[in-house]
């Protein structure tokens, strides 16, 4: 395509008069409150999930499956005979959801604010160490562009999470409607919502088209794009709900496994 060449540079913006320095702002509202709450919640969940998925079992021998319930952090369970006991089977799985969430457009917004203060809030000054700003144009943050690859991979454990939830309904030859099974179903549902509301999926399904009405194929993709767009509007809610529930699901199954609680269930 001809036209203005890509090499045409933008004019350099003349400097403004914004306050500089971490937290410098004219804002009077509690701009730091939401990032602070998010930081605490995210850090607690992420740290727990890492420790539980990678360290608990090798260090403490805590089981991650009990009575037909498998912790979602270990699904699909890959535990070959040659695997030493000091390596958690979660290692084979966790990098997928970790990569998916780390490169997620919503979480990027959140953690750039609360971990990197880049910016700490809208119209709020940043630390001076950000002067050599390159963000997603250079390593490591340029890797955020690989989000769609993690999206493809994330559907593999998601498929097995539904299988696990379904399998948990039958135990010892009986149908079991237990709280653990309900948690696994809710977990699979929320993770499905989180995955389907992904910005990259929305793009791949239909957003990359310029013409929605041009053919039957593009009209089908347009319909799918509309559905995913309605889910995408609530991507933040899906992200938090699924993160919290996957954490609680693991906590519940581990507490069951060590006998700290019992699973209320109807059996027939």
């Amino acid at each position: 395509m001809t036209g203005i060449p890509a090499s045409l540079g933008l004019p350099r913006k003349p400097p403004g008069t914004a306050r500089q320095g971490l937290g410098a702002t004219g804002r009077l509202d509690d701009w730091a409150l939401a990032p602070a709450v998010q930081a605490i919640l995210f850090t607690v969940c992420a740290t727990y999930l890492f420790v539980s998925g990678i360290l608990f079992t090798p260090l403490l021998g805590t089981p991650y499956e009990v009575d037909g319930y498998l912790s979602p952090l270990f699904s699909p369970l890959f535990r070959p005979d040659w695997l030493p006991t000091w390596i958690s089977p979660g290692l084979f799985i966790l990098w997928v959801p970790l990569g998916f969430r780390a490169t997620c457009y919503y979480y990027r917004k959140a953690y750039y604010r609360f971990y990197f203060a880049d910016p700490p809030g809208c119209a709020v000054g940043e630390p001076s160490l950000h002067k050599r700003y390159a963000m997603e144009t250079r390593f490591p943050f340029i890797l955020q562009n690989l989000h769609r690859l993690f999206l493809y991979l994330a559907f593999i454990p998601l498929f097995f999470l539904w299988i696990d939830a379904g399998v948990s309904v039958v135990h010892d030859g009986q149908v079991r409607l237990g709280l653990g099974g309900a948690i696994l179903f809710v977990n699979a549902f929320l993770l499905t919502g989180y995955s389907l509301s992904c910005h990259s999926l929305r793009h791949i399904v239909g957003g990359q088209l310029d013409c929605f009405s041009c053919s039957r194929r593009t009209r089908v993709r347009y319909t799918l794009w509309q559905r995913l767009t309605s889910l995408n509007l609530h991507h933040m809610a899906w992200a938090w709900a699924s993160l919290i529930v996957v954490t609680l699901a693991d906590v519940y199954i581990r507490l069951l496994a060590i006998g700290a609680i019992a699973d209320p269930a109807i059996r027939f």
Partner: protein, 272 residues
Amino acid sequence: MPDAHLRVFRGDSSTEGRFEEFDVPVEEGMVVLDALHWIQGHAAPDLAVRWNCKAAKCGSCSAEVDGRPHLMCKTRLSDFDLEQTITVEPMRAFPLIRDLVTDVSWNYEVNKTIQPFTPPTDVPQEDWRWQQEDIERVQEYRKCIECFLCQDVCHVLRNHETERPFMGPRYLVRAAGLEMHPIDQADRREYLKDSGGIGFCNITKCCTEVCPEHIKITDNAIIPLKERVADAYYDPIGWAWRKLRGGDAESGARAELPVLQGNPPQTDEAPD
């Protein structure tokens, strides 16, 4: 109703500037711009304020009220606690001209670097046929009134002097409107990646928060453009798929145009 206590920035590019305080009588429905007009009429006739329509459509009266970018004609005094001082400052991302007026001309220079609307040369305009669903996305971007509040709040423009300039959310919205136009033929992805600096945007959504037209700038313009750039440059699976199909770096979507079927394309060799 109590008086509003306003603290207004005064100064020009040759001075550091200062804040002057004014008590303004408040009437029902008053906006910040009304208060500034009262100040101009009663206390400081030389106060510089850029405004035009007073209907939130011209995008002229952008400023920062209590530290947040706002259109002053759309910001009601009743939204504030009138017991507290209301601070009005110019947009901080741009050079100051005087008082509340800033020099936003840089934005227009950026605009000139974007390849304009590029329809196919071989399809007469009367044969263009698109449906509402094809153009809805673009219509959202076209709501932009160029108030530059998004540019003002964008931390890349506000806080970072980068080695390569960043075009900012306003012009990513414009580029999105062109890229997603059903009959536009240009491919601006290389421009967006290399010149426009789309990678500098770290999608913190401040632009979306301040847009007076409620354009979902980040979700509907910037992220889709980032994904289009990823299509071309950061998707090994897509690259392999295109190689297998024998396609080039452009998405297959570009092959389809909403034009009237059955009319042969006109060529330069067509008889007069």
